[in-house]
């Protein structure tokens, strides 16, 4: 029988988790980095989405199914950011541990306060998220909250290492508070400046540091700009005296480049996640890089 020959082969490929190491799958780079900082060598972190891709639109690669099949914990951003690609991966992985509602499933959006929760939801308004703006990672005040939620969940799944996780979280918290002071200091001179962004992805950051968001280059979330809308934004930038055009790394940059050249307004390509640009390889450097790009000239 062919099958009897295949079984030993299969056993060879099976990877049993290292004793004591929790297998954690993180949907986005920033989540993976925080899990790694809290779990250190007691966790093995596996990432799904690439940091420089559109977080809403990720190709649900079958290799993700294999990653999820072996996971003890799946940590997601939530707020429907993964709704277009993750649910089928979870279904196909046949892993009871990481089903929504289980202890092996952690939705970070349930732990932070989401802004722009729409009072009414219609797709007439583009790709709206009924739970609110899901890009909460970019408010640095949310990082300690996220780290705490991860610490609690890791401790719950692996109680033997609870004090280890808590100590790491404490360390991260202290370091983060220190950096926060630094970023606040550097961004103080820019308080009140008006900006235009391509997609509503930097709102949390901009609100936190007192920028004024004058508008978006997308006419509606997820819908590419039309000539008419670009003309409107052009008027808006002139009228409001917008200082920066902020663009993510994954959307087409034609409209932003055009507006920037036309009106001599600075275009800044901003990292939105760990891995979105070369310099932003962890949660600290994401914000370092954003601050550097904003304050550079």
């Amino acid at each position: 029988m062919k099958l009897s020959k295949m079984i030993p082969l299969l056993l060879l490929f099976m990877q049993t988790a290292f004793a004591g190491q929790l297998q954690v799958v993180a949907t986005y780079g920033y989540i993976g980095d925080i899990v790694q900082r809290v779990g250190k060598d007691r966790v093995e972190v596996v990432l799904l989405a690439r940091g420089d891709y559109n977080p809403h639109i990720i190709i649900p690669k079958p290799s993700y199914i294999a990653k999820l099949r072996r996971a003890d914990l799946l940590v997601i951003n939530g707020g429907q950011l993964e709704i277009g690609w993750l649910p089928q991966i979870i279904k196909q992985a046949n892993n009871a541990t990481v089903q929504p509602g289980e202890r092996g499933f952690l939705d970070l959006s349930m732990h932070v306060h989401l802004i722009d929760v729409p009072t009414s939801v219609s797709r007439e308004l583009g790709d709206v998220h009924p739970e609110g703006n899901p890009h909460f990672f970019l408010d640095p005040d949310n990082i300690p909250i996220i780290a705490k939620a991860i610490t609690e969940r890791l401790s719950e799944l692996d109680p033997d290492n609870q004090s280890f996780y808590e100590a790491n979280n404490k360390e991260l918290y202290a370091l983060w508070q220190q950096k926060m002071k630094e970023w606040e200091e550097k961004l103080k001179p820019l308080q009140g400046e008006k900006v235009v962004e391509y997609h509503k992805i930097f709102d949390y950051f901009l609100n936190r540091f007192g920028f004024t968001i004058a508008g978006t280059i997308e006419p509606l979330p997820g819908i590419p700009p039309t000539t008419r809308h670009i003309a409107e934004v052009e008027q808006l930038i002139k009228r409001e005296g917008v200082k920066y055009i902020l663009q993510d790394v994954y959307n087409p940059q034609d409209a932003s480049t055009y507006l920037s050249k036309q009106l001599n307004v600075k275009l800044i390509i901003m990292p939105h996640d760990v891995g979105s640009v070369k310099e932003a390889d962890n949660v600290f450097s994401v914000f370092d890089e954003i601050v550097r790009r904003l304050t550079n000239g």
Partner: protein
């Protein structure tokens, strides 16, 4: 009088009721409200306009000899994009929800102007250990690649030729149960087995038949009649994901075309059918938006049995029937920006060996179809597709054999989705 006063008092009381108390009451009024438990509901509407250089009646009567031979199935008259002019292809109402911590339930109701039908309805397990999952109900069989995909997820407006030739316009959609196992390997691997009733119009069937004279009598097959096994695996090279699989379907074939009913002539088949399928999909991301995808599938059918033919003089011949049919398709699609996608497809029915009582029937082989499409999607919820097909696979029965009837068609298709529609797999 007393009644009137009571009424006025009651009305006054109602109007003067403190707002806070009213609110409290309305809240209590929703004690048994279950609206939060409404499942995810979506409606997908698919319409098309078709032009074709062939009259509808003639198009409906065409067959693919050897595949659907010797019965003219009028394959063309059902299914999407069948008629010249406007087609209401389908209104697909889908419902999905978690049943309880242990099960999921998914159903698709196919709405048409003249009625509705249940296309799929199945439950699946959520919590089986060791990577197992079981689903049961009516569902699209996990046979190959395209069969399992819903029509609106296809890169083209119609099913690949080999899939239509072997399974008909509705594909392999059966009642039964499926078990899958995902081993904890470092790369993606899935094993699956299905036990199904096997009542597909083209390749499988269970009904018995007998001629009016009672000479031949073939008993019905007691279900289940169709067994499918499949293996799938995948790996990534840089930004390319490669998915491939092998599927095998084995079952009894029973067809009866006028054989059992009193009348002039009739034919019936009792056979065993074995179909093997190999599929390959490659998706390569160029950047966050653009990608190239390649999808190809090869199917090979072996059918062995007996063909019963009753002529007008009620004599019955029952030669052995032996069919070897194969075909494949290969398609490439490119998403060029956020709004546009385009693709080409090549279909080929390759082997078409049919022998009756050991005599080769000289069926036409190497029958191609060429397709090209361009798509415009304002959002992920609406899509317009222009497709061109040149089909050289269809034949009309003529005196002394078959005559090829090539046709060309252009399809303009609109596909729109409202509501809560679940994410698609790879």
């Amino acid at each position: 009088m007393k009644l009137k006063e009571t009424c006025i008092l009651a009305l006054l009381l109602l109007f003067l009721w403190p707002a806070g108390l009213l609110r409290a009451q309305s809240k209590e009024g929703s004690s048994f409200d279950q609206s939060k438990f409404v499942p995810d509901i979506a409606l997908i509407l698919d319409l098309s306009g078709v032009t074709r250089d062939m009259a509808n009646e003639k198009y409906y009567s065409l067959a693919i000899p050897g595949f659907s031979y010797p019965f003219l199935h009028e394959m063309g008259s059902s299914g999407s994009n069948a008629h010249r002019g406007w087609n209401f292809n389908y209104g697909e109402l889908s419902l999905y929800s978690v049943v309880d911590p242990y099960f999921d339930l998914f159903a698709v109701i196919d709405l048409a102007p003249d009625g509705a039908g249940l296309e799929e309805a199945y439950f699946s397990t959520r919590k089986l250990p060791y990577g197992f999952k079981v689903k049961a109900g009516r569902f699209l069989a996990s046979f190959g690649r395209v069969n399992e995909q819903h029509e609106h997820f296809w890169d083209f407006a119609n099913r690949p030729l080999i899939a239509t030739a072997l399974f008909g316009e509705d594909g392999l959609n059966e009642i039964g149960a499926q078990a899958t196992w995902v081993p904890p390997t470092s790369f993606y691997l899935t094993f699956g087995a299905e036990v199904l009733n096997g009542v597909n119009e083209q390749s499988f069937g269970t009904s018995g038949f007998s001629d009016p004279g009672g000479t031949v009598s073939v008993n019905p097959v007691q279900g289940p009649n169709l067994y499918i096994g499949f293996v799938r695996s995948s790996f990534d090279i840089e930004e390319a994901s490669i998915l491939f699989g092998i599927s095998n379907a084995v079952g009894t074939t029973r067809t009866d075309h006028g054989f059992s009913s009193p009348g002039s002539t009739g034919q019936a088949v009792n056979a065993n059918t074995d179909i093997i399928d190999g599929d390959l999909t490659v998706k390569y991301s160029l950047d966050a938006i653009r990608y190239l995808s390649f999808q190809s599938e090869y199917m090979y059918r072996v059918l062995n049995g007996t063909e019963y033919t009753r002529d007008s003089s009620i004599t019955i011949s029952s030669p052995s029937l032996d069919k070897h049919n194969s075909g494949f398709y290969a398609q490439v699609a490119a998403k060029v920006d956020q709004l546009w996608r385009m693709g080409i497809r090549y279909d080929l029915l390759m082997q078409n060996d049919v022998s009756l009582g050991g005599a080769d029937q000289h069926m036409p082989s190497n029958l191609p179809r060429y397709s090209a499409m361009i798509e415009y999607s304002p959002t992920e919820f609406s899509r317009f597709r222009l497709q061109f097909d040149r089909d050289l696979s269809r034949y009309a029965q003529a005196s002394g054999g078959w005559s090829r009837q090539p046709y060309t068609q252009v399809i303009l298709q609109a596909n729109l989705t409202i509501g809560a529609h679940g994410a698609h797999a790879f």
